[in-house]
C-alpha cells in the first residue's frame, strides 16, 4: 500500500487544495498517469501517480485543502482511512524546492591573484568577477547559507522539554506533610492573614500558588479564625456545618504522621498501666499575676496560662525526679534534663513539640519559646529536634470549655497533665461563699514507674506553685 501525499509544487507552497480527482475510488491507477489536479499558491497543477494499483481510498476530497506532506489518498490499500498526518514535512521522493541561488560561496570561483608584494596592488588586481558575484549575493538579500526557513514548528521541541519537565513534575510524597507553597504565595498569605492549611493548591504538583492565596483572601465565607493548637491561650472557634460524605462512608486516609501517632498512643494506652489523679487548683492569683505581667510588657512577650503551668510542672519535677522518668524494659530511667512536651492539636494531626530544660528557663523564655515552637509546628517548619527528648508532657484543652479530661501518656514519659478550663465558681473561703477561679487538672500516671502517693504529692506541689505563683516568676 502506498500513500499519496500532498506534493510541494513550489518552494513557498505550504498547503494545497484538491481541485479535481482524475480517478475514482476503486479505479485502477498506473504509475505515471495523471491522478489529481491541485491548486498551489502559484498555479493549478496536474499531479501524476507514483505507484500502480487500485485507488483504494480518497482521503482528502475535492474542494478541501491539506498541508504538504499530508496523506491525500491511498493506492493499493484496503480502503481504511489512513491517519491524517498533520506535520508539514517534506514528503519523501518529492522534488526538493530549489535552494536560493545565491547560496554558493562566490569566492570558490576564482581567488584574487596574489602576485604583488606591495599591499595596494591587491585591490587593483582584484578579480572583478569575485566582487560582482559577492555583490549579486548581497543584492539578492539572501543569506550566505541556505536559510533554516520560517519558525513554523507547532509541536513542542526538545529545546523546551527540560523546562516543561520541571514545571510538570508530579507531587512527591516527601516526608508526608510538607505543603508545597510558592514563595510569593507564602508571603501573600502572611500579609493577608490566610491560613495556608485551609488553602487548596491548584499549582503543579498541588502547589499553593499566588492565585490560590488571592482567591482564599477574597472568599465571602465567614472568616475562619486560625485553629489554635490546644496548648495556647483561650480562643473560641466557631465551626460551620460542613458537607456530609456523599457515600455512606467517606474514607479519610491517614497521613504518615497520623498513622504513627495512632500507633504510639495505642502502644502507650495498652502497655502502660494508667491511673489517674485529679485536682482542682485556685487560679485567682495566677490569673492576676498573668494580667499584671502582660500589662507591663509588649504584646509579643505576653505569657499564657499554659506558660505558667509549664513552669510549675518543671519546678515540681525538680523535686520529684522519680516522676521525670521512663519505663525501659523492666527498668526505670530517671532523666537528667527536664523537657516538657506541649501537646499541639491541629485539625489533622497531633504533635508534641518539646520545650527543653524548662526548669532553668524564666517565664519570659518559656513564653517566647513555646510560641515559637507552636508556630513552627503549625507552619510545618519544625525541626526533628523539636519533637525529641520529652520527659513529661502537658495537654491543655482549657480553651474548649472542657472541665476536665484524662490524657494518654506520651511515650516515653510516665506522666501527662491534662489541663481543663478556668471557671468562675462559687467557692467557700473562710466560711463564706465567694466567687473564685478554679481549674481542674488530671494527672495520668504510668503505674509501673511511680505510685499513688508520689503522684498525689507531685500534683500537690504543682498546685502549690500555681496557687502561689510568685514562685514561678523567678
Amino acid at each position: 500500500m502506498s500513500s499519496v501525499q500532498m506534493p510541494r509544487l513550489s518552494d513557498s507552497m505550504e498547503t494545497g487544495k484538491i481541485l479535481r480527482w482524475l480517478k475514482k475510488e476503486g479505479e485502477d491507477v498506473k504509475k505515471g498517469e495523471p491522478l489529481v489536479e491541485i491548486e498551489s499558491d502559484k498555479a493549478n497543477i496536474e499531479v501524476e501517480a507514483y505507484a500502480s494499483g487500485k485507488l483504494s481510498k480518497i482521503v482528502v476530497p475535492e474542494g478541501e485543502s491539506a498541508p504538504i506532506g499530508a496523506v491525500i489518498a491511498e493506492i493499493g490499500g484496503d480502503g481504511e482511512a489512513a491517519p491524517k498526518s498533520g506535520t508539514a514535512t517534506v514528503p519523501q521522493g518529492q522534488p526538493q524546492a530549489a535552494e536560493p541561488k545565491e547560496g554558493s560561496k562566490g569566492a570558490s570561483a576564482e581567488a584574487p591573484k596574489a602576485q604583488a608584494t606591495k599591499p595596494e596592488a591587491h585591490v587593483a588586481q582584484a578579480d572583478k568577477a569575485v566582487a560582482a558575484a559577492a555583490q549579486t549575493a548581497a543584492d539578492a538579500g539572501g543569506e550566505q547559507y541556505p536559510h533554516g526557513g520560517p519558525d513554523d514548528r507547532t509541536e513542542v521541541g526538545a529545546a523546551a522539554q527540560a523546562a516543561l519537565n520541571v514545571i510538570r513534575r508530579p507531587a512527591e510524597q516527601q516526608d508526608g506533610e510538607r505543603q508545597r507553597v510558592s514563595p510569593v504565595a507564602r508571603r501573600l498569605a502572611e500579609e493577608h492573614g490566610v491560613d495556608l492549611r485551609q488553602v487548596q493548591g491548584t499549582g503543579p504538583g498541588g502547589r499553593i500558588t499566588k492565585e490560590d492565596v488571592e482567591a482564599a483572601a477574597q472568599q465571602k465565607a465567614p472568616p475562619q479564625a486560625a485553629v489554635t493548637p490546644s496548648a495556647v491561650g483561650p480562643t473560641r472557634e466557631t465551626r460551620q456545618p460542613t458537607a456530609r460524605p456523599t457515600g455512606e462512608v467517606e474514607v479519610v486516609e491517614l497521613s504518615k504522621l497520623q498513622a504513627t501517632v495512632a500507633m504510639r498512643l495505642a502502644q502507650s494506652a495498652f502497655s502502660a498501666p494508667h491511673f489517674y489523679v485529679t485536682s482542682e487548683i485556685a487560679m485567682d492569683d495566677a490569673v492576676r499575676l498573668r494580667q499584671m505581667f502582660n500589662e507591663a510588657v509588649d504584646k509579643s512577650e505576653a505569657i499564657s496560662i499554659n506558660d505558667l503551668v509549664v513552669k510549675a510542672v518543671a519546678l515540681a519535677l525538680t523535686k520529684f525526679p522519680e516522676v521525670n522518668a521512663s519505663w525501659a524494659d523492666g527498668r526505670i530511667e530517671r532523666k537528667r534534663d527536664i523537657n516538657i512536651g506541649i501537646a499541639v492539636g491541629l485539625p489533622d494531626r497531633l504533635i508534641v513539640p518539646v520545650l527543653r530544660n524548662a526548669d532553668q528557663k524564666t517565664l519570659k523564655d518559656i513564653a517566647r519559646e513555646s510560641k515559637q515552637l507552636i508556630e513552627r509546628s503549625r507552619a510545618n517548619k519544625a525541626a526533628a529536634q523539636d519533637y525529641l527528648g520529652n520527659t513529661f508532657s502537658i495537654s491543655n484543652l482549657g480553651m474548649y470549655d472542657v472541665d476536665q479530661f484524662t490524657a494518654i501518656i506520651n511515650p516515653p514519659d510516665s506522666g501527662i497533665l491534662a489541663i481543663g478550663s478556668i471557671e468562675d465558681k462559687a467557692v467557700v473561703k473562710d466560711g463564706q461563699v465567694v466567687p473564685g477561679k478554679r481549674m481542674r487538672v488530671t494527672l495520668s500516671v504510668d503505674h509501673r514507674v511511680f505510685y499513688g502517693v508520689t503522684a498525689a504529692q507531685f500534683l500537690q506541689e504543682v498546685k502549690r506553685l500555681l496557687q502561689s505563683p510568685m514562685a514561678l516568676v523567678l
Binding site: P146, E155, P204
Partner: protein
C-alpha cells in the same frame, strides 16, 4: 528613522566609527575584498583601504592576537571572527590574553578591542557550525559581552563597544542579519550595560537575547491572542549583567521563562535564574523555566534541527504550562 537590516545597521556603525577615529581598523577573514561572508563589512575596504580593512589568513590566533597587540600599542581594532564556532581555536588569546592582560599587568595597559562574531544555528549547518558561546565569555572577568537583537541596538552597541576601552565580545547571529528594524538617525549610541523591556506585559516574564529575542516577541504576540500577557525583557547586556529590568518584571509577574540559543545546562538562563532566586525569591510563583537548545551536537536533518533549537512553540507551551493552563 530609517528601516535597516541588521547587517546594514552594523555596516553603518563601522563606517561611522572608522570615519570618526583614525585608530579604528578592521581585521578578519574575507572582510575586505570579499565584503565579508555575511556582508557586514561591505564596501569598507573600498572606502578606507587595505591598511584599515585587513584581510587575514585563516589563522584565528592571529586575528585575535594581532588585534590585542595593536590595541596595546594604541589602535582600536575591530576583529571579526567569521563565526563563533571558530573562536575556540583562539580561546587562549580571548581569555588568557585579552581578558587578563590589563589586570595581570597591574593596570599598566589596556586592550580596547571589539571581537564581532555571529553564533546560532538552525540552518542545517551541522554540529561544528551551530554553536552559541556567549555564556562562555560572560563567565570571564575582564571581558564585556553584549548580544543585541534589533538593528537599532546593534548599531548603537557596536559604536559604544568600539569607543569602550575594554575587550568587548560583540555577539551577532547568522539568522538575524536580514532582520529589519527602525534605526534612529544621527549619532545613536546604546550603553553596553543596560537591558530593557521590549514588550510590556503582566502575566509572565520572558528573558531572551539575540535571535531568541525575536522568537520571544513572536511567541508573546501569539500568547496575547489567547489572553496571556507576556513581558519580554531584552538581555542584550550579558557582562556586566543588568538584571534590574528582569527583577522588576518578575516582581510584577511572579513567573519567568529564559530563552537562549545555546545549550541549556550552564547557560545564560542558569545565571539569570540564580540571580532571580537571589533577588526576587519571595516573588516567585514557580521555579524559573529555562529554555535552551537540546543538549546534543546540532543535527543536520532539518526536522531534528528544528526541534533541537528553541522556537516560538516552545515558549508558548512553556508559558501556558507555567500559568497552569495546559
Amino acid at each position: 528613522m530609517a528601516v535597516l537590516a541588521m547587517r546594514d545597521a552594523l555596516n553603518q556603525a563601522l563606517r561611522e566609527e572608522m570615519k570618526r577615529d583614525e585608530s579604528v581598523f578592521l581585521l578578519g577573514e574575507d572582510i575586505g575584498l570579499y565584503d565579508g561572508s555575511f556582508k557586514v563589512t561591505r564596501g569598507l575596504m573600498k572606502e578606507f583601504g587595505e591598511r584599515r580593512v585587513l584581510d587575514t589568513p585563516i589563522a584565528e590566533e592571529i586575528i585575535i592576537g594581532t588585534a590585542i597587540g595593536a590595541a596595546m600599542a594604541g589602535l582600536r581594532p575591530v576583529a571579526e571572527m567569521m563565526t563563533v564556532n571558530f573562536i575556540m581555536v583562539a580561546m587562549d588569546q580571548v581569555v588568557n590574553a585579552a581578558a587578563h592582560i590589563r589586570y595581570m599587568f597591574g593596570g599598566g595597559t589596556k586592550v580596547p578591542l571589539v571581537i564581532r562574531t555571529p553564533g546560532g544555528g538552525g540552518h542545517q549547518l551541522g554540529a561544528q557550525h551551530s554553536h552559541s558561546h556567549e555564556n562562555w565569555f560572560a563567565h570571564v572577568p575582564g571581558l564585556k559581552v553584549v548580544a543585541p537583537g534589533t538593528p537599532a541596538d546593534a548599531k548603537g552597541m557596536l559604536k559604544a563597544a568600539i569607543r569602550d576601552d575594554n575587550p568587548v565580545m560583540f555577539i551577532e547571529n547568522e539568522g538575524t542579519y536580514a532582520v529589519k528594524g527602525e534605526v534612529p538617525d544621527g549619532e545613536h549610541l546604546v550603553p553596553l550595560d543596560k537591558n530593557d523591556v521590549k514588550r510590556q506585559g503582566d502575566d509572565i516574564t520572558i528573558c531572551a537575547h539575540s535571535r531568541m529575542l525575536i522568537v520571544a516577541m513572536d511567541a508573546a504576540a501569539e500568547l496575547e491572542k489567547e489572553g496571556i500577557s507576556a513581558e519580554v525583557v531584552d538581555m542584550r547586556a550579558l557582562r556586566p549583567l543588568d538584571m534590574a529590568p528582569a527583577i522588576e518584571s518578575v516582581k510584577k509577574t511572579s513567573r519567568l521563562i529564559t530563552v537562549e540559543e545555546g545549550w541549556r545546562s550552564y547557560g545564560v538562563g542558569a545565571e539569570i535564574a540564580a540571580r532571580v532566586y537571589e533577588e526576587a525569591f519571595d516573588y516567585l510563583d514557580a521555579p524559573v523555566a529555562r529554555i535552551g537548545a537540546a543538549e546534543v551536537p546540532a543535527p543536520y536533518n532539518k526536522r531534528l534541527e528544528k526541534i533541537a533549537f528553541p522556537g516560538k512553540a516552545d515558549v508558548i507551551v512553556t508559558a501556558k504550562a507555567l500559568l497552569g493552563k495546559n
